[in-house]
């Protein structure tokens, strides 16, 4: 079964919203049927091309695979094909008439945590797959935990291989109940559970006739309609200044505009605003794009803001509202996921940090605990964090960060740590507390 129309133009849908973009992360291993599921989504939405499919079939056959291994679609690197493993997050694209989708497909085995955290950082939704015969396994809980740590707003548990449990409602409900109970503990936001057979296509594009007891939508129907517009924070105005536009030209004189992407909130001409860290206030004179001025700007728009007064603002500063501002602080408490294999995070270590458009140096003042992501046990005796380990740290920075808690704002609450010697990105951080 296929969706009859391929993606149309930048169109407006019947209910008045434009065709929008949903980013989702998938987690799991080949055994769960993840590749089959993604392959089916791509195939059924006409996003898989015949030359790609032919190439994958040929390689699968040459390797003696018993089935067409759709992971080979993006396991294009020589090392991946030679070793039969997926090394890195792969991005795949498909569209239906309602939405464009970006899948961050994270491999299950190698560098699992690092890849999952990377894929989840930009995701609106995460798909977790379990095999109906096995039910929840340690890995499913780990997936769910990382999604909640990264504050992915929507979670979908796909109970796959329903054909192998005789389409049993009882099996499905047992798994769904167990997962729901676990997700409640994690403070997971919106959760859906769908019984599917990726191999046979049940409940993927259309409702399955084999499971009349399931009254929910098919997976694609859910992906197309899940409401993501209100996931954005439209309350707290946060505009990290990226770049100051000052044309050196004879035709445009005295122009000074602050370019950036709206992190949260809505900016309108006339609004009273405050610039941080200076604390100076002014009013928004205009919100501009290359196509002309706009009445308001909201996430994720890239715009240029002009102010009524000339105040000193440069890259790394933030425009907010006088009565609703982020913390201005050199001390943050954060959960960090360490991503570097060569050197572990150590207390007393000094690093570079990038937070919104601001760069600083930071010292690790303390490591409160290392978290076991399988048991959620906190090991307070830990003295370092190795590759793929997660822990809570206290950082002191050279200049103040303009920060919110990550749970309130994924843009102004997230940061990366960079090794100053190797220049490698060594950790992802999520601010827990700005006090």
């Amino acid at each position: 079964m296929s969706v009859d129309t391929a993606a149309p133009a930048d169109s407006v849908l019947p209910e008045g919203r434009p065709m929008d973009l949903l980013r989702f992360a998938t987690a799991g291993s080949v055994d769960d049927g993840k590749s089959t599921l993604i392959g089916r989504l791509l195939y059924d939405t006409k996003s898989l091309f015949t030359d790609q499919l032919a190439a994958v079939e040929a390689v699968s056959a040459a390797r003696g695979d018993e089935y067409t291994n759709l992971a080979l679609l993006t396991d294009g690197l020589r090392a991946e094909r030679e070793q039969g493993i997926t090394i890195d997050v792969a991005y795949r694209y498909f569209a239906t008439p309602r939405r464009k989708f970006i899948i961050a497909d994270t491999p299950g085995h190698i560098q699992y945590t690092r890849n999952m955290v990377t894929g989840a950082s930009t995701a609106d939704l995460a798909l977790i797959l379990v095999d109906a015969r096995k039910g929840l396994v340690e890995q499913s809980r780990r997936h769910a935990f990382l999604c909640s740590l990264l504050r992915v707003p929507h979670l979908v548990l796909c109970v796959n291989k329903m054909d192998l449990v005789d389409w049993s409602q009882e099996v499905f409900e047992r798994i769904a109940d167990e997962f729901t109970a676990f997700a409640t503990k994690l403070d997971a936001p919106d959760l859906s559970v769908v019984p599917i057979s990726a191999l046979r296509g049940d409940n993927i594009v259309s409702r399955s006739e084999n499971m009349p007891w399931y009254e929910g939508p098919s997976l694609l129907h859910h992906l197309e309609r899940v409401h993501i517009a209100s996931d954005r924070n439209l309350v707290d105005v946060r505009f990290p200044v990226q770049y100051v536009i000052r044309p050196q030209s004879t035709t445009v004189t005295d122009y000074r505009g602050y370019a950036g992407q709206v992190a949260s909130g809505v900016l309108k001409p006339g609004d009273e605003v405050m610039a941080l860290p200076s604390g100076f206030t002014s009013r928004i004179a205009a919100v501009e794009t290359a196509d002309g001025p706009v009445d308001e700007a909201f996430p994720p728009m890239s715009v240029t803001v002009r102010l009524a007064d000339e105040i000193d603002i440069s890259r790394g500063d933030m425009i907010c509202r006088p009565n609703n501002a982020p913390a201005v602080t050199q001390d943050v408490e954060a959960m960090v996921c360490w991503m570097d294999e060569s050197r572990p995070l150590q207390v007393g270590g000094k690093y570079a940090i990038k937070h919104t458009t601001r760069s600083a140096r930071a010292i690790v003042r303390g490591l409160h605990y290392r978290l076991d992501i399988n048991t959620l046990h906190r090991d307070e005796s830990a003295t370092e964090l190795k590759l793929n380990e997660i822990g809570r740290v206290r950082l002191r920075t050279t200049v103040p960060l303009l920060a919110d808690e990550y749970r309130r704002n994924r843009t102004t609450g997230g940061f990366v740590i960079i090794d100053e010697t190797t220049n490698r990105t060594v950790a992802a951080g999520m601010i827990v507390d700005t006090a």
Binding site: G16, P18, L77, Q261, A290, S302, G414
Partner: protein, 303 residues
């Protein structure tokens, strides 16, 4: 609470906003960026995004064309016209010049795809560029599906796919030591269809060969090649006239045309939406060398 309809953002607007953000990050953080401009549709879209990112100021970096000497005249003409219109500085890194001064040697099959790389790297070194904007997209080819938006290159211009920097949220790490550089791909998340929708929406003019026209061609290994000074019919190959267009524009000696009646942007969108073959699969002799042809070229420093 449901957000009012006014706060909705279309997928093209979201992609545009992301690309503009990426370009501004580069200009804010890097010393000497350059945009690789071939006159192909992706680099043309990139140039439009650069215009938008810095308006009303002009584009704050030069553009560079790696010229294999095997060009479609319509594309060169377009390149020069665009550069003049926008008042840009154009740097031409010339393969014929590199051949004559001995930097590279013609490869046995006459394809210049591989020998472009040393010419590109030489120009990067000479001009001390530390950031190169490229129009590559992740949907194009499997080695590109795992490419970062900010992709680190060592002092030899090499890409190490197994050792890439993790890229989280929109926090891009452009830090590098002298001699190293970053390739930046603002169109990473765009598909071929997105690019065409954007061309239509923004009414961006393209070189005429992207639209259907009649041309004298030969069929070779299932692909249609224009008969020109670089491609002559071999024994047994028959020349004939066909209605064709180019889906990609690369080196004129290895880029094939596809049969098409799509002579307007709307018709091209219809055609691309219905097609079942990838653009590189349909048109690029250079990717057919082996399963990992693209990866191998990229490791050496290809775009």
């Amino acid at each position: 609470m449901t957000a009012p309809a006014a706060y909705r953002v279309s997928h093209l607007d979201a992609l545009e906003a992301e690309s503009i953000f990426v370009m501004r990050e580069v200009v804010a953080e890097m010393e000497r960026p350059v945009l690789l401009f071939s006159g192909g549709k992706d680099s043309i879209v990139m140039l439009r995004l650069a215009q938008k990112a810095f308006a009303p100021a002009s584009i704050p970096f030069p553009v560079m064309h790696v010229d294999t000497g095997h060009n479609f005249p319509e594309v060169l003409e377009y390149r020069d016209q665009r550069v003049t219109e926008l008042g840009l500085q154009l740097i031409v890194a010339s393969v014929p010049e590199a051949l004559s001064n001995g930097l590279v040697r013609e490869s046995a099959d006459g394809m210049r795809n591989r020998i472009q790389t040393p010419v590109l790297l030489d120009a990067v070194e000479k001009h001390r560029f530390d950031a190169l904007f490229g129009g590559a997209r992740r949907d194009e080819e499997k080695a590109r599906a795992k490419e970062r938006v900010f992709s680190f290159r060592d002092e030899f211009g090499q890409w190490d796919p197994k050792n890439q920097r993790p890229e989280l949220w929109s926090l891009y790490n452009g830090r590098h030591h002298p001699g190293e550089s970053i390739r930046v791909f603002p169109l990473s998340n765009w598909t071929e269809l997105d690019v065409w929708h954007y061309i239509a929406r923004e009414r961006i003019p393209l070189p005429s060969i992207y639209y259907a026209h009649e041309r004298e061609v030969i069929e070779r290994e299932g692909m249609l090649y224009a008969v020109n000074e670089f491609i002559r019919p071999r024994a047994g190959e028959e020349r004939f006239k066909a209605q064709v267009r180019y889906r990609t524009v690369g080196d004129a000696s290895c880029t094939a045309a596809v049969r098409s009646d799509a002579d307007t942007v709307e018709k091209v969108i219809e055609e691309v939406a219905a097609t079942r073959i990838t653009e590189r699969g349909a048109t690029r002799g250079d990717d057919r060398v082996s399963e990992a042809a693209m990866e191998d070229r990229k490791r050496e420093g290809y775009f």
